[in-house]
């Protein structure tokens, strides 16, 4: 079977699942609903594996396969800003190349595991079928996003995942907080989409196409011919506009506020959408547009700075949160910051690598936390947990592996990917020691809050309330098996991207055709070689050291019986409160934008009904008033003359009126008398 030509089917299997479950799921048994949903994703996964395998068989420079299904939009001719005639044509088409193959494997693979897990986690819920229908719809959108071969296909997926995210965050729709969070997520994302749409339109207006390959070729040809040069404003503009979109979807400063609130959704949703897949769409998009970003180093610098600041900022909030899912949410934001840092220093492969490893261990951590929450009957507050490690051992073990991986323990997935980012931040031509320093500090903070989570949940004294305590149970197999698979992944995934001093970096090599430099300068590789291996190893050691410090602080504070946490928070009360309240950013946004927009709307409404409509009504009133005046004139002056004439005749004629009695017989009598008189007169003459 030629899977490469069938990649257009990959997004369609989940659509089938969505339609079946959406239309008939209500009347089907839960097991059937869950099987169909997970099965659809499994088939997609199999097709994806087949296609990627066949792609890998091709020679390196041919590893890019496009399938056009049909011509979707053809909106007539257009002219680019360069004066080139073109048409606004967008195909419904898919592209499998090294970058999208990484994404498709991550999305379908982890997506499948999470579907399986959800079969256990959501079993008790009403609307089981609704959940799986939405989840399948999400898989469709996400796969369209990563497999689409042009920017508009990506945009379809981009908006589609936004919709599914909206629906799934609002899954518990009877809770006001869930509805609010859903709406917030969608609207904040829309702000990002505004930027993305503008960027896409600019791409079309500049290059005359939305097709990845065509755009890339136009840029390469333009660079070769000298038409395009690095730092040209149009590239910076496009790159920044696209990045606004990435900030929205991937929760970067200033548009990150929706992601922590998105934890209102069910935990598998948080794992799938808000950790492993959807939120990485921004990273994918920037990596996909790498030829544009390469032409705009200023925009890259913005990406790097925003990324590293987000990493720091989110990690700082994560330090003090007490809700287990919120800690993970801020951790996700922070890790996404890392990915953008990597992209920003031009290390696209490192960013995508971290995206992949992060998908494993963050999905694992979220699912693990879901297992904890499940065990404790929907308790999410870590202050009401503790000493769970023997009661739910599998969850504990797998979560411990995830924590070790994210904290950067040497040998686990997180170490390789994070270390690569740190090294690139320091050594790349776009890098800067300051970026490295902040990123290294964040590594320490990550280690602290993750171990804090682990210790508060599984170690120390049990703070679980008595009633719940008796019902704590390990989750069923359908939930623990995915945890174990993900844990294995979190350990092994890093070995395909070894640092240079350990072995070949298969991952980077695989992605090379996609991230080929636009300008054939190839100096960076030369320069990188100048940095000594010793320096790279030494810096890795430093970052591990910082992580160990984070671990030790967490251990002594939370695993041991200690009142240090209380003491420190009391000592730095202001700081603590600020962190606990997320730096008051939500309040700030509310005050600056939300309320102002509402005020503006209210004000304009008043303006509309008083001034705009007021003018209309005033015109009407004025017309009526002048009509009243004209009426008076007409009635008393113009008509007055007429009526005077009539009235004169009327008064003058009163004697004659008396004869009009209205009695028919009177008239008849007069007639007869008249006839008699006439007859008499005639006869008088003849007689």
């Amino acid at each position: 079977m030629n899977f490469l030509d069938l990649i257009w089917l990959i997004p369609l299997f989940p659509v089938a699942g969505f339609i079946i479950n959406g239309l008939f799921g209500k009347r089907m048994p839960k097991s059937a609903v869950g099987t169909i949903a997970a099965g659809a994703v499994l088939i997609s996964f199999i097709f994806a594996v087949g296609a990627v395998y066949q792609l890998a068989q091709l020679p390196e420079h041919e590893r890019s396969h496009e399938v056009v299904v049909y011509e979707w939009i053809n909106a007539g001719s257009a002219v680019t800003t360069g004066g080139q005639a073109t048409r606004f044509v967008v195909n419904w088409s898919f592209l499998l190349d090294p970058l999208s193959s990484v994404m498709v494997l991550v999305v379908t693979g982890i997506g499948f595991l999470i579907h399986v897990y959800s079969n256990g986690y959501m079993w008790e819920e009403d609307g089981f079928y609704r959940f799986f229908a939405y989840l399948n719809l999400f898989m469709f959108s996400m796969l369209t996003l990563i497999l689409g071969s042009n920017y508009l296909m990506m945009f379809i997926g981009w908006e589609g995942v936004g919709l599914c995210s909206y629906l799934l965050i609002g899954y518990y729709f009877h809770k006001k907080s869930a509805g609010d969070a859903a709406k917030k997520a969608f609207v904040v994302n829309r702000v990002g989409d505004w930027g993305l749409a503008t960027g896409i339109l600019l791409i079309f207006a500049t290059f005359g196409s939305l097709d990845y390959h065509t755009v890339e070729e136009v840029i390469r040809a333009g660079v070769a011919s000298g038409q395009y040069v690095v730092s040209q404003p149009i590239f910076i503009g496009i790159a920044l506009a696209l990045f606004v979109g990435a900030c929205g979807k991937s929760a970067q400063i200033p548009l990150y506020t929706w992601l922590p609130d998105a934890m209102e959704g069910p935990t598998p949703v948080s794992a799938l959408i808000h950790a492993a897949t959807m939120v990485t769409a921004g990273v994918y998009m920037v990596a996909r547009s790498n030829w544009i970003y390469q032409m705009a180093p200023e925009a890259l610098a913005v990406v790097a700075v925003v990324g590293v600041l987000t990493a720091l900022f989110a990690a700082s909030i994560g330090l003090v949160q007490n809700d287990i899912k919120r800690v993970l949410a801020y951790s996700t934001v922070s890790q996404l910051g890392y990915m953008f840092l990597a992209l920003g220093v031009g290390a696209f492969a490192a960013g995508v690598f971290h995206l992949m490893t992060h998908a494993f261990f963050k999905a694992l951590l979220f699912l693990g936390s879901g297992s904890v929450i499940h065990a404790l009957h929907h308790e999410q507050d870590m202050r009401k947990m503790g000493a769970l490690k023997n009661k739910i051992p599998i969850t504990f073990l797998t979560m411990a592996i995830g924590t070790l991986a994210i904290a950067g323990t040497p040998g686990l997935a997180g170490f390789f990917s994070k270390d690569e980012i740190l090294w690139q931040a320091f050594s790349s031509e776009h890098g800067h020691p300051l970026l490295w320093l902040i990123a290294a500090i964040v590594a320490g903070m990550t280690s602290f809050y993750m171990f804090r989570l682990l210790f508060m949940t599984f170690y120390g004294e049990s703070r679980v309330d008595h009633h719940t305590e008796q019902h704590i149970h390990e989750s069923p197999k359908v939930m623990t098996v995915p945890l174990i698979v993900l844990a294995v992944g979190s350990v092994l995934a890093g070995y395909i991207g070894l640092p240079k001093w350990l072995g070949p970096n298969l991952f980077e090599h695989w992605l090379e055709p996609v991230f080929e430099p636009v300008q054939a300068v190839a100096v960076s590789a030369e320069e990188a070689a100048h940095h000594s291996v010793a320096l790279e190893v030494g810096m890795a050691a430093v970052s591990v050291g910082i992580a160990v410090i984070g671990f030790l602080i967490a251990y002594t504070t939370y695993a041991k019986k200690s009142d240090r946490a209380e003491r420190v928070s009391a000592q730095f009360k202001g700081m603590y409160q600020a962190l606990l309240n997320k730096w008051y950013v939500d309040e700030l946004y509310d005050a600056l934008f939300v309320h102002r927009a509402k005020d503006l709307g209210r004000g304009l409404w008043r303006f509309d009904s008083r001034v705009v409509d007021g003018l209309v009504n005033e015109t009407a009133v004025g017309t009526v008033k002048s009509a009243v005046g004209s009426g008076w004139w007409d009635r008393w002056i113009v008509d007055g003359l007429v009526r005077f004439a009539g009235g004169f005749v009327k008064t003058a004629s009163w004697p004659i009126r008396l004869s009009e009695t209205g009695y028919t017989q009177n008239y008849a009598l007069v007639m007869i008398v008249g006839v008699l008189v006439l007859v008499g007169y005639v006869l008088w003459g003849t007689l």
């Binding site: 009009e660 009695t661 209205g662 009695y663």
Partner: protein, 100 residues
Amino acid sequence: MVPIHHYLLLGAALFTIGVVGVLTRRNIMVILMSIELMMNAVNINLIAFSSQLGHVSGQVFAIFVITVAAAEAAVGLGIVIAMFKNKETMNINEIDLMKW
């Protein structure tokens, strides 16, 4: 043969009764009947003269008058009914819309 003035006297008498009826009665139905009476008086005259003069046109005219009288009765009764529906009365004195 009956002399013609007998017929003319009968006609005159009937006509006079009709006129008096029209002028004095207050019930519309009776007035209508009185008008019928007057017309028939005319018919008698027409036929009398026709037979007297040996000319057929008088008889033709009489038939013509009868036809018109029938139509008149129909229209008149229609008006009376419509009027009765509106005013609920047959008294002609209460129908005085033409009064100044």
